[in-house]
C-alpha cells in the first residue's frame, strides 16, 4: 500500500549508488538513469492499489489519494525531463545526482503528507517536502540570488511550520487526539478550536502562497533556478493544496461555515492582488510567481463549496495547471538556459526567430488565462461552476473579472513575442531533445485534456464532499 513511497525511496538509494559507482567523466548518464527510473515509477503508479490504512491509521491510502499522487508523479516527471538541459551544463556536472535525490526526497515527503491520517504524519511529510526544496533553491551556489532564495524559503518554512504547529497544539489540547477521523468527530465549534484552525490555515496559506501570506513567493521564484521555480510553483503548491482540501473536508467539516468565510476573503484577495501585481512585472519569473498566486486564488473557489464537484474540479485543475504552467516554464527555462534572458521585453520579436517556442508559450499562456479550446478553460469553468453550485455567484463574478485582468498581462507577453519588433531579438536556437519532449507532452496535455472528458469523470468518481 505504501508502494509509491517505497518505490521512490528505492529510486533515491539507487541514484545514490550510481553516484558512488559511476566514473566522474560519465556522471551525465545519471540523468538518463534517473529519468528512466522515474518513468517506471510513474507507470507503476497507475496500477490498481488496495485502499486501507497502516500504522494504526497514521497512514491512509484511498483512490482519491492515489490519483493525487499520480498527478504529482506526472508533474515531477515533466520537471525532471525539462531539467536535463540545465543539469548538463558545465557548472552543474558535479552535482547532478544531488538534484535528483533532493527532488525525489521532497516528493516522498509530499506522498506521506497526502497519505496522512494523523497530524504527526502530516507534519513529517510536510517538513520532508519543504527542507530539501530550500537546498534545491540554493542549488546555484555561485549566485547570490539563489542563496537568498534558499535562505528565504527555509526561514519562511520554519515560520509557517511554527504557526501551523501552534494551531495543531490547540486542536490537540481541545480534542486530545491527532487522528483525522477522531478530530472530525470531536470538533464542537469551540472558540479555541477555531483559533487553532486559523493558525493551521495560516500555516498552509504560507505553503500555497495565499495572500496575505504570499510575500516570499516572488523573491524565491526569482532567485531559484528556473527548473526549481517550476517545481515549486507546480508540484509543491499542488501537493499542499491536495492535503489542504483533504484536511478541510475530513477533519474540519463541522466548522464549514467558518472556513468558508475565511476562504471567501482570502480567495478574493489572492486573485486580485496576485493579478494586479503581475501586471507590473518585467522579470518573467516574478511575473509567473504572481500569476501562480492568482491561480491559487481560483483554486480556492473549488474548495469553498465543500462539495464533491469542487474537489474534483480542484484535482482536475491542478493537473491542467501542471501542463499549462510547465509549458510556460519550459519555454522560459529553455531560453534562460540557452541565452540567459528572462525579461519580458527581451522576448520582443521572438516569434520571428523561434516560432516553435513562441507557439508553445502562447498555448500555455492561453490555457492559464482560460481561453478555449485549451484545458485551462475547462478547468476554470468547472471551478467556477462548483462554486456557483453553492450559490457563491458574486465570488464567481469577481473571479471571472479577475481572469480578464490576468488575460491582460498574459497578452502583454503574447504581444512582446508576436507583435513587438526588436532590433536584437533572441537568436534562433534549437533546443535539445529532452526540452522538446517535455514541451510536447505539455502541449498534448493542454490540447487533449478538455476534450477527453473521461479524465474528469475518473477524478470525479474518486472525489468526495464534506
Amino acid at each position: 500500500m505504501m508502494r509509491n513511497e517505497l518505490l521512490l525511496t528505492i529510486a533515491v538509494l539507487l541514484i545514490l549508488m550510481a553516484e558512488i559507482f559511476r566514473d566522474t567523466a560519465k556522471k551525465r548518464s545519471i540523468n538518463r538513469f534517473s529519468i528512466v527510473l522515474f518513468i517506471i515509477i510513474t507507470i507503476i503508479g497507475f496500477l490498481p492499489l488496495r485502499s486501507g490504512s497502516l500504522f494504526g491509521g497514521m497512514y491512509e491510502i484511498s483512490d482519491a489519494r492515489s490519483v493525487m499522487k499520480n498527478i504529482l508523479n506526472i508533474g515531477s516527471l515533466l520537471v525532471l525531463i525539462q531539467s536535463v538541459t540545465w543539469l548538463n551544463k558545465e557548472e552543474n556536472s558535479e552535482k547532478i545526482s544531488e538534484y535528483y535525490v533532493l527532488l525525489i526526497s521532497t516528493l516522498i515527503g509530499m506522498n506521506f503528507m497526502i497519505s496522512a491520517g494523523h497530524f504527526l504524519m502530516f507534519y513529517l511529510g510536510l517538513e520532508l517536502a519543504t527542507i530539501p526544496i530550500a537546498a534545491l533553491a540554493a542549488y546555484d551556489r555561485y549566485s547570490n540570488k539563489s542563496a537568498e532564495a534558499g535562505i528565504k524559503l527555509i526561514l519562511i518554512s520554519a515560520l509557517s511550520s511554527g504557526v501551523l504547529l501552534y494551531g495543531l497544539s490547540m486542536i490537540y489540547g481541545t480534542t486530545g487526539t491527532f487522528y483525522f477521523n477522531e478530530i472530525g468527530k470531536l470538533f464542537v465549534n469551540d472558540n479555541l478550536q477555531i483559533l487553532g484552525f486559523i493558525f493551521f490555515f495560516a500555516g498552509m496559506a504560507f505553503k500555497i502562497s495565499i495572500v496575505p501570506f504570499h510575500l516570499w513567493t516572488a523573491d524565491v521564484y526569482e532567485g531559484a533556478p528556473v527548473n526549481i521555480t517550476s517545481y515549486l510553483s507546480v508540484i509543491s503548491k499542488g501537493a499542499a493544496i491536495f492535503i489542504f482540501i483533504i484536511v478541510l473536508f475530513t477533519v474540519f467539516p463541522v466548522i464549514i461555515s467558518s472556513w468558508q468565510k475565511i476562504i471567501y476573503v482570502t480567495a478574493v484577495l489572492t486573485m486580485t492582488i496576485g493579478n494586479l501585481f503581475a501586471v507590473r512585472q518585467q522579470n518573467l519569473k516574478r511575473f509567473l510567481a504572481f500569476s501562480s498566486i492568482s491561480q491559487a486564488g481560483y483554486i480556492l473557489l473549488g474548495i469553498i463549496g465543500g462539495n464533491q464537484l469542487g474537489m474534483a474540479s480542484v484535482i482536475y485543475y491542478i493537473l491542467v495547471y501542471i501542463f499549462s504552467n510547465l509549458a510556460v516554464f519550459g519555454v522560459v527555462a529553455a531560453i534562460s538556459n540557452a541565452k540567459s534572458k528572462e525579461n519580458i521585453d527581451e522576448y520582443n520579436g521572438l516569434y520571428q526567430t523561434n516560432p516553435g517556442l513562441s507557439l508553445v508559450m502562447l498555448l500555455g499562456l492561453f490555457s492559464l488565462a482560460g481561453i478555449p479550446p485549451f484545458a485551462g478553460f475547462f478547468g476554470k469553468f468547472f471551478l467556477f461552476t462548483s462554486a456557483a453550485q453553492k450559490g457563491f455567484y458574486i465570488l464567481v463574478l469577481i473571479a471571472v473579472l479577475n481572469t480578464i485582468i490576468s488575460l491582460y498581462y498574459y497578452l502583454i507577453v503574447v504581444k512582446a513575442m508576436f507583435i513587438n519588433k526588436s532590433e536584437a531579438p533572441i537568436e534562433k536556437f534549437r533546443s535539445d531533445f529532452s526540452t522538446r519532449l517535455a514541451l510536447g507532452i505539455c502541449v498534448a496535455g493542454i490540447v487533449i485534456m478538455g476534450f477527453a472528458s473521461i479524465i474528469f469523470e475518473v477524478i470525479k468518481n474518486v472525489s468526495f464532499g464534506v
Binding site: F377, Y393, L397, L401, I404, L407, I419, E457
Partner: protein, 501 residues
C-alpha cells in the same frame, strides 16, 4: 458525421491544410477552397432545411445531434438549427468567403493570418450551430480571442491599443455571460431533477422570477457588449478601424451578430418574464445606441470610423427590435442582422480596396474617384444606398419591418422610442450621402489617381458576391422571412405565454 458538425470540421481541416503547406502562395488558395466548400455546404444546408420543412418536419430544431461530453455537469456537445441559425450560417459563410478574397494580397505572415481568420470563423460557425449553453460559450470565446492577434499583428494605426481594448471588453462581457449561464444552469430544474445546459430543455421550464431578475441583465449585457450596446460600444470603432480589411468585414459583418443572436436566443428566449419587465432600461440604451451611432458617424472623417459608428447604430437597431418582443419586430431584427452583415462587409471590403489604392482613409483627402475607378465607386454607392434603406435593397426591408413591429406597441413609451429611433434613417442618409459626394463625385483632385486600376478579379468576386445577396434580399425578402418566420413562432409563443396570466 452530421452536416452541422461539418461546419466546424471543415475549417479545422482547412487550418490543418494551411499548416502543412510549405509554399506561402498556395496558402490563400487552400483557404479559398476550404471556405468555398463551406459556402457550398451552407447552400446545401439551406436547401436541406427547406426540404425538411416542406416534408412536414415541424420540430423546433432540425439536424439535432447530441453527444454527452462531461457527464458530471450534464454538458453535451449539442447542435441543431432552426431557420434563424440557418440564415446566420449562410451569412457567415458568404462573408468569410468574401473576406478570404478581400485579403488575397496579404503579404506579411500570410499563413498565420489565414489560420487566425479561419479560427475566428470556426468559432462563429460553432456558435450558431450550438444549442448547448456550454458549447455556445466555448465557441463565443474561441471567436473573440483570434481578434487580438489579427488586429495586433496585421492592423494599422494604434493597433495594439485597439486590439487590447477590444479583447478585454469582449472578454469582460463574456465574464458577465459566464455568470449568467451558470445562473441559468443552476435554475434549470426548479422542481428538482437533472440540471441542464440545453437551450431547448430549459425553454420548456420557467426559470424562477427572482433568478431571472439577476441573470437576465447579466446575460443580456454580456451579449449586448458584442452587439455594441451603449455605453459598452467603445471597443467597436477603435477595433474596426485598426483591423485589417477581412477582419473588419468578419467582425462587423458576423461577430457583432453573435451579440444580437445570443441576446435573443439565450437572454430573451429563456427568461422572457424578466425581459419584459426590464426591457425599458435596455430600450432606452439601444435607442441611444441607434441615434448616437448615427450622429457619431457624421462627425467622423475616417472611412472606417464612419462605418464603425454606422455599425453601432445598425446593431443597436437589432437589439432595439429584439427588445420589442413581438413577431414582426424580431423578424425584422433578424433580417437586419443578415442585411447589415452583408452590407457592412461590403463596405469594409470596399474601404480596404480604396485604401490599397489611395493609401488614406480620410475622406477630405480623396475626391472624384468615380471617374477613375468606376466599378468600385458604383459598388460603394450601392452599399451606401443599402445602408440608408433604399427600397429594393436589403436595408429597407429590415428597417421597415422593425419599425412597423415596434410601432405595434400601443403604449406611449414604446412609440416615443420608436419615433426617436426612426429619425436615425434621416441621419444615416446625411453621412452616407456626404461621403459619396466628397469621395466619389466632383473633380478628380489628385494627379496620381489617374494611374489607378479598377477592381481586380478577386476584388470583384468579393464585391459581387455580397452585392448580389443584398439585392436578392431586397427584392425577394419573403423567402428569407418565411425561413425565419416559421422558426420564430415557437419562440414567440414562449415569450407571449407570460401575457396570459
Amino acid at each position: 458525421m452530421d452536416i452541422l458538425t461539418l461546419f466546424v470540421v471543415i475549417p479545422v481541416l482547412t487550418i490543418t491544410g494551411i499548416v502543412l503547406i510549405k509554399d506561402i502562395r498556395q496558402v490563400r488558395l487552400v483557404a479559398a477552397v476550404g471556405m468555398g466548400i463551406q459556402l457550398l455546404l451552407a447552400a446545401i444546408l439551406i436547401f436541406l432545411y427547406f426540404s425538411a420543412r416542406h416534408a412536414g418536419n415541424t420540430a423546433e430544431m432540425l439536424f439535432v445531434r447530441d453527444i454527452v461530453w462531461f457527464k458530471s455537469f450534464n454538458i453535451h456537445y449539442a447542435v441543431g438549427v432552426d431557420g434563424i441559425s440557418v440564415a446566420m450560417i449562410g451569412l457567415t459563410a458568404i462573408v468569410v468567403f468574401a473576406g478570404i478574397f478581400a485579403s488575397w494580397e496579404m503579404e506579411f505572415l500570410t499563413k498565420e493570418f489565414f489560420i487566425s481568420l479561419i479560427l475566428l470563423a470556426t468559432g462563429v460557425f460553432g456558435f450558431f450551430i450550438s444549442i448547448d449553453l456550454f458549447t455556445m460559450f466555448l465557441f463565443y470565446e474561441l471567436a473573440v480571442i483570434p481578434m487580438y492577434l489579427l488586429i495586433g499583428i496585421w492592423g494599422s494605426g494604434p493597433k495594439e491599443y485597439s486590439a487590447m481594448k477590444l479583447t478585454l471588453m469582449l472578454m469582460g462581457a463574456s465574464a458577465l455571460l459566464l455568470v449568467g449561464i451558470l445562473g441559468i444552469y443552476f435554475n434549470s430544474a426548479p422542481g428538482g431533477g437533472q440540471l441542464t445546459f440545453n437551450i431547448l430543455e430549459i425553454s420548456k421550464i420557467k426559470i424562477p422570477l427572482s433568478a431571472q431578475y439577476i441573470f437576465f441583465p447579466l446575460t443580456f449585457v454580456g451579449f449586448g457588449v458584442l452587439g455594441a450596446l451603449f455605453p459598452f460600444h467603445t471597443w467597436s470603432p477603435d477595433g474596426h478601424s485598426s483591423a485589417p480589411t477581412a477582419v473588419s468585414m468578419l467582425h462587423a459583418g458576423v461577430l457583432m451578430k453573435l451579440g444580437g443572436y445570443g441576446a435573443f436566443r439565450v437572454a430573451i428566449f429563456l427568461m422572457p418574464e424578466a425581459a419584459r419587465e426590464l426591457s425599458w432600461i435596455f430600450i432606452i440604451l439601444t435607442t441611444i445606441s441607434v441615434i448616437y451611432g448615427a450622429f457619431g458617424a457624421i462627425a467622423q472623417k475616417d472611412l472606417k470610423y464612419i462605418n464603425a459608428y454606422s455599425s453601432v447604430s445598425h446593431c443597436g437597431l437589432v437589439l432595439f427590435a429584439i427588445l420589442m418582443m413581438n413577431k414582426t419586430a424580431i423578424n425584422g431584427a433578424i433580417i437586419q442582422m443578415i442585411s447589415h452583415g452583408l452590407m457592412t462587409a461590403l463596405f469594409f471590403a470596399l474601404i480596404g480596396m480604396l485604401y490599397g489604392r489611395t493609401h488614406t482613409r480620410m475622406i477630405n483627402e480623396m475626391g472624384g474617384l468615380m471617374k477613375v475607378i468606376p466599378f468600385l465607386s458604383v459598388c460603394y454607392v450601392i452599399a451606401g444606398l443599402a445602408s440608408l434603406g433604399l427600397p429594393g435593397l436589403s436595408g429597407f426591408v429590415a428597417e421597415m419591418i422593425i419599425f412597423v413591429g415596434a410601432f405595434q406597441h400601443p403604449d406611449l413609451f414604446h412609440r416615443i422610442a420608436t419615433i426617436i429611433a426612426v429619425t436615425s434613417i434621416v441621419i444615416t442618409a446625411v453621412y452616407i450621402l456626404r461621403v459619396i459626394a466628397i469621395l466619389l463625385l466632383g473633380p478628380t483632385t489628385n494627379e496620381n489617381y489617374y494611374h489607378f486600376t479598377d477592381a481586380k478579379w478577386f476584388e470583384k468576386i468579393s464585391a459581387v458576391a455580397l452585392i448580389s445577396l443584398v439585392a436578392f434580399i431586397g427584392l425577394a425578402p419573403l423567402l428569407l422571412s418565411k425561413m425565419i418566420g416559421s422558426s420564430l413562432q415557437p419562440i414567440i409563443n414562449k415569450i407571449l405565454a407570460f401575457n396570459l396570466f
